[in-house]
């Protein structure tokens, strides 16, 4: 019964999101696009953080590579949008396979430090390999061309692009959600709670962590691939280590225990940033206070706290 109500609510939210361009002002179309893209980025991160228990400080590497791959594809090859997006995903998956191969051998703080180190290396390469990446200026000046799949869409129109992003984010999230509910997803949760017991059940924990890492990396790459056309530039900030902090903050804000938690975190993060920076420079101070309060009093995040409370009272 309760599950049905939740699904009905979710359907309403998605219907509301579809209607966004006709309801809100032009400015907020951009805001909602950003929320969706960063939300997908954060949800992909939460597959390894909230589900598998690996705190990565280098997730922006995959987001950024997705953006760069997308920009390079659009500039040099001019393939349809969807194809370029899939290539971006593939590029991130490959990078995640290489970085993950080394990182999943380590636990906890050593894992976190190694992902940070790799993230910094990827940033340094993008920043300094000017002939390909255009250094600190980043790659800009690409046109979006056709969408592909025989659809005639004007991607340059922000409202159209918003709907494209919405559709892709919903499909990608559905795929990630199915993975979380599968037997594989159950093993990931088991690894977070007690990885040693999983290996004594006959599974190579490293392999499972690596597969999770690659899946998370490729979906971060997909989010990155959507970001470059949205910003009209792929720049080194997208793979800076501070960008790796964003999905961590969003996951904690929204709640790591529920699949959609990071989306809620993304919405809160982007909306608060927009509102608060409009009247004060100290957005980071406010964000810091909110995060401190969340971590001290609402460990389960916004969505987690609300859902747990609702489950309790309606028992």
């Amino acid at each position: 019964m309760k599950i049905k109500i939740l699904w009905a609510l979710l359907t309403l939210v998605i219907a509301g999101l579809i209607a966004v361009p006709w309801i809100v002002s032009y400015f907020y179309i951009f805001i909602f696009t950003e929320i969706l893209i960063l939300g997908l980025f954060a949800v992909s991160f939460n597959l390894i953080f909230g589900y598998t228990g690996m705190l990565s400080f280098g997730h922006a590497a995959f987001f950024g590579i997705g953006s760069y791959a997308m920009a390079l594809m659009l500039i040099h090859l001019e393939w349809p949008f969807v194809v370029s997006l899939l290539v971006s995903m593939g590029a991130s998956a490959l990078l995640a396979l290489i970085i993950g191969f080394f990182c999943v051998r380590l636990n906890e703080v050593y894992f976190a430090m190694l992902t940070l180190a790799f993230g910094m290396m990827v940033f340094a390469i993008a920043y300094q390999w000017r002939s390909v990446t255009n250094g600190s200026d980043g790659l800009a000046g690409f046109s979006l061309g056709s969408f592909g799949l025989g659809l005639d869409l004007t991607l340059a129109n922000p409202a159209v692009y918003y709907h494209v992003v919405l559709a892709i984010v919903v499909i990608a999230s559905a795929v990630l959600y199915l993975i979380c509910r599968s037997s594989f997803g159950m093993i990931l949760r088991a690894i977070r709670q007690n990885h040693e017991r999983v290996s004594f059940a006959g599974l190579n924990v490293r392999t499972y962590r690596l597969v999770a890492f690659v899946i998370a990396g490729s979906f971060a790459g997909l989010a990155g691939g959507l970001m470059a056309p949205f910003l009209r530039v792929a720049s080194p900030e997208l793979l800076h280590w501070s960008m790796s902090a964003e999905p961590i903050l969003m996951a904690i804000l929204g709640g790591t225990g529920y699949f959609l938690g990071p989306f809620v975190g993304s919405a809160v993060f982007v909306l608060l940033e927009t509102w608060i920076t409009s009247f004060t420079e100290s957005w980071m101070l406010v964000l810091g206070i909110i995060l401190a309060l969340m971590v001290i009093f609402f460990r389960k995040g916004l969505l987690g706290t609300v859902l747990d409370w609702w489950m309790e009272i309606k028992k």
Binding site: S183, Q193, F200
Partner: protein, 262 residues
């Protein structure tokens, strides 16, 4: 009963200059229940850690069913048929009791590689999990979160998880440690019925001598990392050196040994 399921030869583990386990030779026969006793620090858990792959031996060989498994990682040894429990409860605290068993069953049946099935609708595995929980008498707790059930029930849940991989050899590390006398009796009865079913070969470490003499077909007595004696319960009870080294000691002396021998 002719060829042993597990053959240990010259097994040794040194930490620095100290030998925690030294030159152990042992055969475990199919379908028997073998107990390992010895005071704290005698090397029982180190011995288990080597057999289950948690630690690499410094020397020696471990052969399971004719296959050399020395130094393999835990997941490979588990696949080859050795399943173990731990002295400290080793479960998935946030999952339900049934899910705890389902995790091990999905691993065993290879479902863990499925990315797009729905775990909560895997009826085959669910039925098997409930069957196992029934066998351990904890099926009424199947929907409880594992962290909230009693200590004794957690230990039984862990045995269910250990049996879920249909092991050739089951290692139980102090299965009744920390249990109330009632829980101990219940657990002993359960292990005895599992052993009597002829489905399992058990290697059990235990402090409680009543439990040991109740369950074991044979007993290995360890002292300071070495094999002191191996034989039937009756032989162990009458062996003078064993009596002196272990059985004769009272609680206080036992603790002294723990400090010096650890």
């Amino acid at each position: 009963m002719i060829n042993p399921i597990l053959t240990i030869s010259n097994l040794t583990k040194r930490f620095g200059g100290n030998a925690a386990v030294s030159s152990i030779n042992l055969d475990v026969m199919r379908k028997e229940t073998m107990a390992i006793i010895g005071p704290n620090g005698a090397g029982k858990t180190t011995f288990y850690n080597m057999v289950s792959g948690r630690m690499q031996p410094s020397e020696g060989n471990i052969t399971l069913d004719g296959k050399d498994i020395t130094g393999l990682p835990p997941h490979k040894i588990s696949r080859l048929g050795i399943s173990r429990s731990f002295q400290i409860n080793n479960i998935f605290p946030e999952m339900t009791v049934q899910e705890n068993v389902e995790v091990v069953l999905s691993a065993f049946h290879g479902h863990s590689r499925k990315l797009f099935n729905i775990a909560s609708r895997n009826t085959g595995i669910q039925q098997e999990a409930v069957e196992l929980l029934k066998r351990l008498g904890v099926d009424s707790l199947k929907d409880q979160r594992a962290e909230v059930i009693s200590y004794g029930d957690k230990r039984l849940l862990e045995i269910a998880m250990v049996l879920a991989t249909r092991p050739k050899l089951v290692l139980l590390d102090e299965p009744t440690a920390g249990m109330t006398p009632e829980e101990t009796r219940r657990t002993t009865r359960l292990i005895k019925s599992l052993a009597d079913s002829g489905d399992y070969t058990f290697l059990i470490t235990e402090h409680d001598m009543d439990v040991v003499f109740d369950l074991a077909d044979r007993i290995l007595v360890m002292h300071r990392g070495e094999k002191l004696f191996a034989g039937t319960p009756a032989e162990v009870k009458s062996h003078p050196e064993v009596r002196r080294a272990y059985l004769g000691e009272d609680e206080d002396e036992d603790e002294v040994t723990e400090e010096t021998g650890a």
